[in-house]
């Protein structure tokens, strides 16, 4: 057994050496490393963020910026990547947590080792040096509603969709929308806060129901990413494209057809590319021990004048103005 095992091992050692020479080329470096860890790799949203990290790397040759993420949507897998990166000795982590609560223990250990931690989409994360948010939720909800009111001519029945009543940001968005609509006494809110569960099909059914119940409805404001697709399809099939207004959160690529047909008036979103750049910019500032001040410029579009507050933990909450409203005329500038 011994001699043939040796052969087998020699074979695997040879194969491993090939991998080693390949991976070794990727490894050698002594500049500060900023590692971006996303929720899941290989989906359009985070591929788009990767272009931001690459652009940041190109513009800042004095740091090494990389992005990685788990192949499956599992908080445990993201946790392992972060642990390995900590052990590898990166200087800063820029994390988009799958589940902020699960990462608390590990991020604390990272900070205890002197690693700079920056997070995104996690304004409730306690163990972080700074959390970057693309925009203030109230401002975003208001902006969506301003656009809706403009399309509706400031009058008529309208309704709202949220992912679920438990979704904090969605409720903030529609809440700010309702607040804005109060300026227009002719706008009448009917059957608000329909739950979509981010399911385009269920949203489609519900939107058809609402169109039957209120034949004179003029506007929809939606929240979850797939809502515009469901409501848009219902409007399109009812032949109401251009007559009923629809403004909500959505992504340009999937929404393209419905934007073209006029079923969707406008979509709102933030650009993960810019968010990735902003996280890295902030991580570099913190690595250089520079102070992050209210109103400062991170050098990234949409983050030119960030508001800085104290976060839920010891860290900062940095809020940009990175919202994008796109319609038929300009969505092609943001295709992802």
């Amino acid at each position: 057994m011994t001699s043939n095992m040796k052969k087998l091992l020699a074979g695997s050692a040879l194969a491993a050496a090939l991998v080693a020479s390949f991976a070794g080329a990727l490894y050698a470096q002594d500049k500060p490393v900023i590692a971006t860890v996303v929720k899941i790799s290989g989906i359009p949203w985070f591929d788009r963020m990767n272009t931001g990290v690459e652009a940041y790397q190109k513009a800042n040759s004095d740091v090494v910026a990389t992005q990685s993420g788990p192949a499956t949507a599992d908080a445990a897998q993201q946790l392992q990547i972060i642990q390995d990166l900590i052990a590898k000795g990166v200087n800063a982590l820029a994390v988009v947590p799958m589940d902020p609560a699960v990462l608390e223990g590990t991020l604390k250990r990272a900070m205890d080792r002197g690693i700079v931690v920056v997070t995104h989409e996690a304004d409730n994360q306690t163990n972080t040096n700074a959390d970057v948010e693309a925009f203030d939720n109230a401002d975003y909800g208001k902006a969506l509603n301003v656009r809706l009111a403009e399309c509706m001519g400031n009058k008529g029945k309208w309704t709202t969709f949220v992912g679920s009543l438990g979704s904090r940001t969605h409720m903030q968005w529609v809440g700010a929308g309702e607040e804005n609509a109060k300026q227009h006494p002719d706008m009448e809110l009917v059957d608000p806060n329909n739950e979509s569960f981010d399911d385009a099909n269920a949203t489609y059914e519900k939107a058809k129901e609402i169109l039957r119940k209120h034949p004179d409805i003029k506007g929809f404001q939606t929240s979850a990413g797939n809502d515009v697709l469901g409501v848009g399809r219902a409007i399109d099939e009812a032949g109401l494209s251009g007559k009923v207004c629809l403004v909500g959160t959505g992504l340009p690529n999937p929404s393209a057809d419905l934007l073209e047909s006029g079923a969707i008036t406008a979509i709102g979103f933030w650009d993960p590319q810019k968010a990735g750049m902003a996280m890295n910019a902030l991580a570099k500032l913190l690595l250089e021990k520079k102070e992050v001040t209210d109103g400062m410029d991170l050098g990234v579009e949409g983050y030119n004048k960030v508001s800085v507050k104290k976060g839920p933990g010891t860290g900062l909450l940095v809020v940009g103005n990175g919202m994008v409203l796109a319609d038929k005329a300009n969505y092609k500038e943001h295709l992802f």
Binding site: M1, S3, N4, M5, K7, L8, L9, S12, A13, A16, A17, V19, A20, A23, G24, L26, Y27, A28, S41, G42, T66, S68, G69, P70, A71, T72, A73, D74, A75, A76, Q77, L79, Q80, I81, Q83, D84, L85, I86, A87, K88, G89, D99, A101, V102, L103, E104, G105, T106, K108, R109, G166
Partner: protein
């Protein structure tokens, strides 16, 4: 038993190769004490679940435990909810920690006994039964926690279980090795171990020979459940919070570890030490790829390749194939070691 030796040697060899490769590509930092500790602390959760899967597989008759990670999460969630409603974590840290560990392990045991009862008494096929209980356990955890993460906090004892070292080795890893040792001893030296393996080889013969079939089955799944409960404790100790959907990818990885360790899916054979080494090998490979900055999809590819290699070696007896081509080697390894019943 040439084969069991070969499997063990191969796993040891793979681990050694991975360590050497890691050292090469990272200029030594892969072997730094901190990284070794970091990797060691990542192994226990998945390693415990894999031992559970191994036990269920050994029981034969299509034995498998798919409910492992779901039960681990349920144990953590239930224990966190119950214990924090009775004891304040800040007032009595030790009492809280001990109560948390106890309740979580008991919850795991209870879940395992349910699996065992359903499989032995109602004769439900293990894969269907544990698939069902997996969903039930996850659902129950959602209900108990209202779908949110439950904070366990870091009371002294739990926190040291999750973060501290004893003689430079993470306590959770020591615990894992001790538990693995106990189970290995139970399989080797107690009648239970003999019954389990023989029953896995031929259940009908075992029944006619008067083995306590139901008892062995219940004990096996109860043991697997207890290991899940323990994994739940370690997850809580490390992550401060527990959530119902943590580790959804662990289910398949645990099975992968067991198969890579040479556990026979048809039952009747499996060694704990091979499962431990196999879990360590997967961890080394995963950390290695993260060190090299390679995509996580490469990791899945590498795991798949490794699994296929192991299956091929087991199925076609490649070790002896190589031996036949070299004249003068011992003929003991040329004997087919796994013709199987």
């Amino acid at each position: 038993m040439a084969r069991t030796g070969a499997q063990l040697a191969m796993l040891l060899g793979i681990n050694a190769v991975l360590l050497v490769v890691g050292a090469l590509i990272s200029q030594g930092s892969f072997l730094s004490l901190f990284n070794l500790q970091s990797m060691a602390s990542q192994v226990p959760e998945i390693g415990l679940l894999a031992i559970g899967v191994m036990l269920a597989m050994c029981a034969g008759n299509g034995g498998i435990d798919l409910s492992g990670i779901a039960l681990a999460n349920l144990s953590g969630v239930v224990s966190a909810v119950i214990v924090s409603s009775m004891i304040s974590a800040s007032d009595s840290e030790t009492a809280y920690s001990l109560a948390f560990i106890l309740v979580a392990v008991l919850a795991g045991l209870a879940g395992g006994v349910i699996n065992g009862l359903l499989i032995s008494r109602l004769n439900i096929t293990p894969i269907l039964c544990t698939l069902g209980t997996q969903m039930a356990f996850t659902g129950l955890a959602v209900v108990v926690s209202a779908g949110k993460a439950v904070t366990v906090g870091s009371p002294a004892l739990l926190s040291s279980l999750g973060n501290d070292m004893v003689a430079g080795i993470p306590i959770s890893f020591v615990l894992f090795i001790v538990v693995a040792g106990l189970i290995a001893a139970a399989l080797k030296f107690t009648p239970y171990g003999l019954w389990l393996m023989l029953m896995g080889t031929n259940q009908k013969a075992a029944v006619y020979a008067g083995f306590p079939k139901n008892g062995v089955l219940i004990a096996t799944y109860a043991l697997s459940g207890t290991l899940s409960g323990l994994a739940g404790v370690i997850i809580a100790a490390r992550n401060v919070n527990v959530k119902f959907d943590y580790g959804s990818s662990y289910l398949l990885i645990a099975i992968l570890i067991a198969v890579m360790a040479g556990v026979r899916p048809e039952g009747g054979y499996g060694r704990v030490i091979c499962v431990v080494l196999s879990a360590i090998a997967l961890q080394l490979m995963s950390s290695l790829l993260n060190f090299g900055g390679l995509s996580n999809f490469v990791r899945d590819l590498a795991w798949g390749a490794l699994l296929l290699t192991f299956l091929a070696v087991g199925r076609y007896n490649l070790t002896s194939f190589i031996a036949l081509k070299t004249p003068g080697t011992s003929n003991s390894s040329a004997t087919p070691s796994r013709t199987g019943p």
